[in-house]
Symmetry: C2
Subunit: 122 residues, 2 copies
């Protein structure tokens, strides 16, 4: 069996709300494992397990400094994921256009009887 | 255990190269399960399993027509995934800027001796 490709590893790492919340926290700046554990009602080992998934996907790095080992966001895999998803932009834009057209049709169909005009305002 | 949220389901569905290839094929237009199976060296049931994952994630729909049941790309979950990833754009743009600055430094440091100038061209 082949090892998963980069994009598959990235998407698999993003397929969890806790891991996405960790990335959101790291987008504000570096943080220690204990800082990252605080907002979640889960044990440090559980958080460490999520961090390992993110680290294997190259989405975070952990440096070694004297007093602490801060985690840092690494945006390259996110850029590649964004590039992949952007190929489909045309499809959702067409969908939005169709919704807009439909809304326009609905608005055109609303009967205008009863709308105040210069003539019917007392 | 809570059911997975929409974004997690989308990212999990995208975390497979065959499923991404199926979406790429469907971005060209509707296709039957047998059309979708052709490019892959896998059985129809294996492809059907992937289609079920994509369908559960709302990434494709399968309509019922007289002769065939074509699969169709549904772009809404991709738009939501793109929106989520786009939050991190600033981070990869900063990264690209730093790389560009570094490249600039390297180019400035290249010694210019030997480069033809007005004076040393015979």
């Amino acid at each position: 069996m082949q090892p998963p490709d980069t994009l598959s590893t990235t998407f698999a790492a993003l397929a969890d709300p806790t891991r996405r919340a960790i990335l959101a926290r790291l987008s504000q700046g570096e943080a220690s494992v204990s800082d990252l554990s605080k907002p979640f009602s889960m044990s440090a080992p559980a958080v460490t397990k999520h961090l390992k998934v993110l680290q294997r996907a190259g989405l975070i790095s952990q440096s070694r400094q004297a007093q602490w080992r801060p985690c840092k966001l690494q945006a390259k895999p996110l850029m590649e994921a964004a590039d992949w998803v952007a190929q489909y932009r045309q499809h959702w834009e067409e969908r939005l256009d169709r919704l807009e057209d439909y809304l326009q049709t609905l608005q055109t169909d609303i009967p205008t009887t009863g709308t105040p005009t210069k003539e019917n305002i007392p």
